[in-house]
Symmetry: none
Subunit: 154 residues, 2 copies
Amino acid sequence: MFLSSFESSVDFKKRVSIPAPFRKSLSGEDSVYLWPSLDKACIEGAGQRLMEGFEDSMADLDLMDPRRYALATYIMGEARAAKFDDGGRIVLDAELLAKAGITERATFVGLGDRFQIWEPSAFEAMREQNRQLALESLGLLKAKPRRAGQAAAE
Amino acid sequence: MFLSSFESSVDFKKRVSIPAPFRKSLSGEDSVYLWPSLDKACIEGAGQRLMEGFEDSMADLDLMDPRRYALATYIMGEARAAKFDDGGRIVLDAELLAKAGITERATFVGLGDRFQIWEPSAFEAMREQNRQLALESLGLLKAKPRRAGQAAAE
DNA sequence: TTGTTGCCCATGTACTCCCATGATATCCCC
DNA sequence: GGGGATATCATGGGAGTACATGGGCAACAA
């Protein structure tokens, strides 16, 4: 599970350190999948598991379904695997950097099953925009019943 | 279940002892999840169970639901797992401390499924503000029918 | 050549883990 | 009930290690 946020620097070789806790969430994988977000100005990333989940979801759609082709084009077609160097860094290619507007520094944001990479000030702006909505949505969390098999009290 | 309040000190390394009763409520877990409160000037904390409940609640929402993204950003993006040292302490990072205004001492407040960490005088102020509301709300407790299968006493 | 890409080593800092101490509470035996 | 031994707990400090980051060098492409 990808948790919390980290800021790190992008060097002149376009290398960036994937935060150590994120690398640990990838449990042993030596690379990470990256793709430009479809609806936001950021890069998204995840491990093999989520990628395979996407693949399976697409397989459920009819071969001739144009939505399947659209998804395949924008997910599979845009995604790339980036391998870690021995310091836990990856290289972000120019296209990804440009789409997210990242130059010198990058903010990594954990979202549970995936993470995002933002230009730091763009991230702050997006976050401020979402603050009110998050507050209003808190009730959705509390409404969740306890999962089956668990006792009612500690 | 997290019950009652405790005050402890924050040392120069930003370490703080999690009250022993709270650690016992975490039954064996070697770390605790912390995040800044969305609507109050304090830190909130809980065990793995609540965090997984959040995850499940979010998974129930549509992938494209903006509320899902807002929650993920503010819960997953802000939460961090803090590991206990062998004395039962954790390190509070500078950002959490700043948001709660905590410097030298911290008040832990049990809230059942989670707990909060306050700057002691801020906690007292909040408490005083809520005193009247709590008084007025006492009737809600008495109006509640006893749950089936529970003994009459305790 | 010039620029790019992958792989390696170097370094300082910050953090994690470990041990030590004193205070308080608990228990048991007398 | 008194007194001492033991356990639990909060807190202080130190040393090793993991981490982020910078730079070098060779292989390869343009």
